[in-house]
């Protein structure tokens, strides 16, 4: 089996998922070749062939052009599978490639059992084994699912590919996340509010517990999207990644994008009414309780220690 790995870079930096693709190919016992739109001064460590298109010519987000470049490589290499990261780049490009190849696309693969990809369903509460019915298939890999066995090594054998055409969507630049405010990265204790807090007034009880523990408060995305808490307190893939000594998740279900931002915390406590909430998978302690009752009481007890 031969897999075409679609690496990623942004503003001249290689993105981490690139090496997970190589780990996936190793796990599949497959031969692989790599594709990257990027910069020839920033090459991934990779012991194989790398097809490189110039990022300045192709643009960093230009789906029509990137799709065509990938299809050109596929025409040369005839891979059985195309693997991308399940990232903003990968989930955007994958269906375009799959459609052109008339191939099955299997999204957010978290594992492979007997050659069959496994994907999550319903916020990771369930799993599904998915079999492609087509000869070729396209997969996107969940971040972290195929971590690295070893630090990758090797220097790729680079073949540059020419960029042609302009594409229908025009990328005009990046907008950085607003800087300033709290630096959650420095906090030893983080208490985070999830949608389970129910209403904005309840942010105060989460902040009070954080204060009692000498820490900061954070939040999951819906709490930030609702503007109950500012974005610089959001934990997760589109917020911050934190590793405090203690992380307390209050009314947070444990979606993969939230877990990605906090699962490396030293000790994790979850307070949730749902005993089966996926946050339980990473929590050292799951307190099955209504946070509105538990948090104020717990805070009082901490304060009187």
């Amino acid at each position: 089996m031969k897999i075409l790995l679609i690496a990623e870079s942004r503003e001249g930096k290689l993105l981490g998922g690139t090496y997970e693709l190589a780990a996936f190919a190793a796990k599949m016992n497959a031969e692989s070749v790599m594709f990257l739109v990027g910069d020839d001064t920033v090459l991934p460590k990779y012991a194989g062939k790398l097809y490189l298109a110039d990022g300045k010519a192709a643009g960093e987000y230009n789906p029509d052009v990137h799709k065509q470049l990938v299809l050109d490589v596929i025409a040369k290499e005839n891979p059985d599978m195309v693997a991308l990261c399940h990232s903003s780049y990968g989930w955007d490009l994958a269906p375009r490639i799959a459609y052109a190849l008339k191939a099955a696309q299997i999204s957010e693969v978290v594992g492979v059992v007997d050659g069959v990809p496994v994907v999550p369903v319903c916020n990771s509460k369930l799993r599904r084994d998915v079999k492609a019915k087509t000869v070729k298939s396209v997969v996107t890999l969940q971040a972290g699912a195929f971590g690295l066995a070893d630090e990758p090594s090797g220097t790729p054998e680079v073949e540059k590919i020419a960029v042609a055409g302009a594409g229908r969507v025009q990328f005009t630049g990046y907008e950085q996340a607003a800087a300033g405010g709290v630096d959650l990265g420095k906090a030893q204790v983080i208490v985070s509010a999830g949608r389970g807090i129910g209403k904005p007034e309840n942010v105060a009880m989460i902040a009070a517990l954080a204060k009692a523990l000498g820490g900061e408060y954070g939040a999951s995305r819906p709490v930030v999207d609702s503007e109950w808490v500012e974005h610089n307190r959001q934990v997760g893939t589109t917020g911050q990644t934190v590793t405090p000594k203690l992380y307390i998740a209050c009314g947070i279900s444990g979606a993969i994008q939230h877990l990605a931002g906090m699962k490396k915390s030293e000790f994790i406590v979850a307070i949730n009414t749902d005993r089966d909430a996926p946050i339980g998978d990473v929590a050292d302690v799951l307190v099955v309780a209504d946070l509105k009752q538990f948090v104020p009481l717990f805070t009082e007890k901490i304060q009187s220690l």
């Binding site: 780049y89 019915k133 907008e175 799951l286």
Partner: protein, 257 residues
């Protein structure tokens, strides 16, 4: 201007799920159903666009059993003009390629200027349907959009990337946009609008009329993941729980020292 918004009805994710008899999906009984969260943003954006350009016709489309009409009525009450219900008692068994094929078949000769979908469904979560619809119709598409603006045929959007960075993108309509959480603030339907929605057209089309493609993959098996970690689960009286938790934090962490 003609606008299409595609919505899916999904179970509440806090539900207690069971596997169905076929072993390839969750059982559809004893669940509370609602509009896919991502699609609420899609509907809101479509309604805002209609309000902005004034002369617009907005269709909401949903593939599913009769039960999905309840969710469609919410979209109508939020401001969609008409509903296209694609009647399919086995929509949950359909792979994204089939769902996209049905939507594209419906849309192909209707000349929509804008098509909105969610970036993913909460249950299946493939994140494929919107982009596939665009590929099938030969339209450009932008996924994972958190900001949308329209001026005279030009669409300016921001795509959300990892770490909260956004990519600014310009594209000409017709285009397909897949909507990400936080794109806007979805409105709550008001009572008068709920009443008005009852009189709006809700056309039912049998799925057989629109399904022209075959699935390219299949679910071999659905199951519960093995519980990892083996963390401690505390249940019972909350005062006791609080004391137990304090004891654990004293033993296992340095934060209460």
């Amino acid at each position: 201007m003609k606008i299409l918004v595609c919505i899916k009805q999904v179970p509440d994710m806090e539900s207690k799920f069971k596997i169905d008899a076929g072993g390839t999906w969750y059982a559809k009984t004893d669940l509370a159903w609602r509009m896919n969260e991502y699609d609420e943003y899609a509907v809101e954006q479509a309604v805002q666009l209609k309000e902005q350009v004034k002369d617009a016709d907005l269709t909401v489309l949903c593939i599913g059993s009769d039960q999905v009409k309840e969710t469609m009525k919410k979209a109508l009450a939020m401001g969609c003009d008409r509903g296209a219900h694609i009647a399919d008692s086995n929509a949950s068994g359909k792979e994204p390629f089939e769902i996209a094929g049905i939507i594209a078949e419906y849309a192909k000769d209707k000349n929509f200027d804008l098509i909105f979908t969610g970036m993913q469904s909460q249950d299946r979560g493939s994140g494929q349907v919107g982009v596939l619809v665009a590929e099938m119709l030969g339209l450009p598409s932008v996924s994972t959009v958190v900001h949308f603006a329209y001026t005279g045929g030009t669409v300016q959007v921001k795509r959300e990337l990892e770490g909260g960075i956004k990519a600014c993108v310009t594209v000409q309509a017709p285009v397909v946009i897949t909507c990400q959480l936080g794109m806007n603030t979805p409105r709550y339907p008001t009572l008068p609008n709920i009443m008005k929605a009852k009189k709006k057209e809700l056309l039912t089309i049998p799925v057989a009329d629109l399904l022209k493609v075959a699935a390219r993959q299949e679910t071999a098996k659905m199951y519960f993941p093995e519980k990892k970690g083996g963390g401690l689960v505390l249940e019972g009286d909350i005062a006791e729980l609080a004391d137990k938790l304090i004891k654990i934090l004293k033993e296992k962490t340095a934060v209460l020292a």
